[in-house]
Amino acid sequence: MIKRVLLFASAKETLGQDSVDLELAADATVADLRKQLVNDYPVLNDLVARSHIAVDQQFALDDMSLTDAREVALIPPVSGG
């Protein structure tokens, strides 16, 4: 399956785009998505390790399945306020 991952802040700036599409197995989990993201975009390696993955606007645990995920986002450490 193809999953689009929304990018923000330095991830968006580094890649020059606000999302990337990843090719994942049909039963892929959040952990698999992390691996694929770093594999396809090695420049994000350090940032991904420090980031959360949000699935449908909720922080997701690494073992969560992405099969039913509608919206996936990479959430680097936040700095609002």
């Binding site: 929304l6 923000f8 802040a9 330095s10 968006k12 700036e13 940032l47 390790a49 420090r50 980031s51 959360h52 949000a54 606007q57 909720q58 922080f59 645990l61 919206e71 986002a73 959430i75 680097p76 450490p77 936040v78 700095s79 609002g80 306020g81």
Partner: protein, 153 residues
């Protein structure tokens, strides 16, 4: 009132939005762009957010605050885009019958908001450097969902 805006924040309106005849205490926090960080000078900040999730997270935090304190109304407005020195990037207002609840809830909301609401700032320094701020967390921070204090609202 929970919102993200790219316009200047009207903090008077944010405070007025929590006004309630049965509340004697109204606390407003306004976060502004600070010029100096130690000896280093900031020219301006630029904020970006993941709006749908940011609003959803702020709503969850407000619900959690209502569970913890006898507060009446809460408003949070976060600005995105360029925020100049001495200009508001965030306003949080809380009303309650008595003042300790408003102070505690407002302080707690800011604390949690800075940890888990998906908003990011880009710091434009006077020395010409620019950088997105991604605070060091010593590795992947604990997921908020694992925090037992975060019950479903």
């Amino acid at each position: 009132m929970i919102s993200i805006t790219d316009k200047p924040i009207d903090s008077t309106a944010v405070l007025a939005s929590v006004s309630d005849p049965d509340c004697g205490a109204n606390v407003l926090f306004v976060g502004t762009t600070r010029r100096m960080t130690g000896q280093r000078e900031t020219t301006r900040l630029e904020y970006e957010c993941y709006e749908a999730m940011a609003v959803s997270k702020m709503e969850s935090l407000v619900a959690l605050a209502h569970e913890q304190w006898p507060i009446a109304k809460v408003s949070i407005v976060h600005r995105v885009g360029v925020v100049e020195i001495e200009t508001a990037s965030i306003a949080v207002a809380v009303s309650s019958p008595h003042r300790s609840a408003s102070f505690e809830a407002a302080s707690w909301l800011l604390e949690r908001l800075k940890q888990e609401v998906p908003v990011w700032k880009r710091e434009i320094w006077a020395d010409g450097q620019e950088e997105w701020v991604h605070p060091e967390t010593g590795g992947l921070p604990e997921l908020p969902e694992r925090d037992p204090s975060e019950a479903s609202p």
